[in-house]
Subunit: 129 residues, 4 copies
């Protein structure tokens, strides 16, 4: 399962170098996996309403080329790990087919209180597509 | 009661104009009133633990001169209104005595659920200094 | 001239109250006027490439009802003032027709260096629709 | 060379989980290395004025325990690589001695235009302490 999310770069996401600040990409990854989950059949809002949270455990980002204000960037998101306790995603961020950044995130399955819990089969099946 | 809060400008707070983005100031106002409350005797964390929230109802900002990365800016914060249902603050943001921005915010007294409540006397007295 | 911009609320835009943080709206206003300018015939990127910047002079926001993660909010943006030295916009932010916030911004026409300049007729005409 | 930077957690840095959003840490890393450079003898603002930029190439973050609004967090920053073309930093983020996150970043030495350049000896010596 891979999802494409298009994001218009905001002015607030740029910095004094004239390019997108590296922290802005972290929010884009979040958007990418939010849209992947929506596409899988249950939005992340519905996950949370069911008491299932994907708490971020790791973020890895490699920047390949700068992005600029008003660019339309493509976030390609896919599931790399779908376990009862851990879920992983990988991302490619591109503009017009040019790679801007590669990333991965690892998430722990928790309740609203942040404590580890087991991912219900219903959600696991959605991730496995 | 007036409080001075010093803030070191972060690179992430700048934008492609080479100056601090106008949205960054909103977070500085928040820091200003957080430190004012701490100085008054009860931190805002303690307000929240007591079930008292100052939900933001209005923000007004006038920008007078740009701020830059690594500037050390002074946020002067004071209480302009201390009522049982509404609280107001005014702010002057300066760098080396030069005015960068003026601002004011209005807050509604609410519980954690966002519903209006009455400000307990204990907190009202702190605001009135 | 009025433009409608739809924005999906990001998780990063929420805060510990469980609602969208008040500073997040400032970025939404920026998106609203960016899309208004694009619709008028010249994107703001093109404005900047022509050496014309709309430096933010004032921001006023009144919050009417909270927004939440994953909401699809509508930003209605219109021009309220189109002068050679000053430009103004007004905004209504809604979700399913419910008013969440009202706002206005005032901008000074400047060059890339932040110094005041006169808005070229070509851009003035676009703003006047 | 290791530098300790203390940061007061801002409300805007939290999210609807009630904890600090994972993207907020990226800005803290930036503050950590900014203060490390200042302590080394030349602030990053001075680096930029000399035409030397440390463009972010990689960010790696592992989250160990949540941070909360108003926490006073310690960012311990050290240089892990000081080359003519690449510079690396490692970070430990703690609260009262409890590890909240570990991180590393890799930077490319560039000019203001983002093109690779060689790090002048004067700056290299500062990094090597």
């Amino acid at each position: 399962m891979e999802t494409l999310t298009q994001i218009r770069v905001r002015y607030v996401e740029t910095d004094a170098m004239g390019i997108v600040h590296h922290a802005s990409y972290v929010a884009w990854l979040e958007l990418g996996r939010t849209e992947l989950l929506r596409g899988s059949g249950q939005s992340y809002r519905e996950w949370e309403q069911a008491g299932v949270h994907l708490t971020v455990g790791e973020v890895h980002l490699k920047y390949r080329a700068p992005a600029y204000f008003d660019d339309l960037v493509d976030v390609h998101t896919r599931v790399t790990e779908a376990g009862r306790r851990r879920v992983g995603f990988a991302y490619r961020i591109e503009r017009d087919g040019v790679l801007l950044a590669e990333a991965s995130t690892v998430h722990l399955v928790t309740g609203a209180n942040g404590r580890a819990r087991v991912l219900p089969d219903e959600f696991l099946d959605l991730l496995k597509g």
